[in-house]
Symmetry: C2
Subunit: 321 residues, 2 copies
Amino acid sequence: MTPFTRQRSRSVVALGETKLITEIGRWLGSATPKSPHGIGDDCAVLAGTPREQLITVDPVIYGEHFDDRIPPRGVGAKLFNRNLSDIAAMGGRPRAAVIALALCNGTKIEWLREFYRSLGNLARRHRVPLIGGDIAHQEEGFNASLTMIGEATKDRVLTRSGAKSGDWIFVTGKLGGSRLEWHWKFTPRLEEGQWLGARPEVHAMMDVSDGLARDLHALCPKGTRIALSANQIPISRSAHHLSETTGRPPLEHGLTDGEDYELLFAVAGRTKPEAFIRSWQRKFALPLTCIGRFVKTRAVSPFADEIDLSPYHGFEHLRGA
Amino acid sequence: MTPFTRQRSRSVVALGETKLITEIGRWLGSATPKSPHGIGDDCAVLAGTPREQLITVDPVIYGEHFDDRIPPRGVGAKLFNRNLSDIAAMGGRPRAAVIALALCNGTKIEWLREFYRSLGNLARRHRVPLIGGDIAHQEEGFNASLTMIGEATKDRVLTRSGAKSGDWIFVTGKLGGSRLEWHWKFTPRLEEGQWLGARPEVHAMMDVSDGLARDLHALCPKGTRIALSANQIPISRSAHHLSETTGRPPLEHGLTDGEDYELLFAVAGRTKPEAFIRSWQRKFALPLTCIGRFVKTRAVSPFADEIDLSPYHGFEHLRGA
């Protein structure tokens, strides 16, 4: 469904700002508490906590992160889940969110209602109230930016730095082909992230958003290189499907497509990958794969099928014209 | 200066996303700490605090909050100060901020550099580090949305609710005509807000963003009406200047213009306004005016020059086409 309409009576302009804010409150229902801890004050208020706070912000922009083919509920879910995935990537627990909306006059009320209802549903499911926000006008398009506040679940937060030479590289789920559906239907790996955050042998973590081959550089410690075993990369069915259309190998899709929202992390080299996976499997049905290792820059390849990563580039958000 | 260029070499596309992020880090300098407490991880990390957290989000959008006449440093200042003003309106102290940027390919590097430098300067001046953010592409225009995290300075935060019948209505500074310059040159009333937050006789507070006549309804308790004394409304010079062009009375500009970013608050009816103002003046040079009172709905007017507020409307962000 397209977010826009030329019929004034079906557009947000027919409501006006004050009524629109009231409607949004209704669409969100119990997902947005009342002032002073909900929408309506100059700031939202959140209880203090002794734990480290996690803050992340991600938008959905029309023509960039979604288009007319994605249902409004899918757009809301994508927005909420993108932010949850960032909290998951630090091993954290989400606490609350605020949303900044930029709307044009022709935004369809019905579309917006479905968008907010899906935000409300996810907010309730994850117990992450939408405690505030801002609505502004823009000439064209749709831009909703969500800021999520979370907290560490343990004494530490997992960051992208901390991997060491010899660490194993693991990834959850399957990669590639997300543009077919997964990019708005994915499941953020929250429980998994918290479980990993509690394991001292996990040294560093991130979520895969720009494609494995690009993102992995952020985890790679100085003086090491990324050694990936081609046969170990977990390729999604969608990557295989997409490959038939694009003519590019499924592995390439798995390495570069982006928007996988899987967890990518480094595990201490002394850990046995099989043992780590067995303890994971006692808790989760989601596949977990050891795909490679960080090795000294000049080290002999640990895998016969090591991938040459030099030709691969990740997704660049700012593209040349 | 316009934020856009048709010369590819002067635009962000010439840099690409990775280099742009590096450049932004340089422009911000010490205003953005390094990962894991700065830009570069999935989430920004902020130390825990036992105090209540304040969260606010406000954007600057091209064509809405600024145009080619506003220098890029003014746009950055407006963005940062709008959010500071919201923290001030709750009597809080700002702690950190994250920024979500939506850019088109033709965004001028020079413009963006000046925009970020002004953010960096304000971040340093107020000790509010920019600890994270997101950059996304959009087809046209410029949209920067800043989320600021603050905390209460006392055991309470001041909200919009809490005013009582008989409470005096006060406003800081002078009102009206902000569109001439003040809307991007204003000073957020941070110290003043914290001082007011510490006074138990202050019952409720907000900042004036949509115009006094509109915003004041948010403070007005049930069963009361707003009684304002026309001669007491502090009218800015800009409102007088603007009046010459528009032909509308300066008072009307003072009541409805919006973007004043002054503090508007209710003080217990038993307090003597003159005494309250005297104690204010021992601390601040900024004018403070008692402009009226919340009175019982059917009460006789306390002022001979009470303003009839019925014809006034505030600023509606979503305008009819």
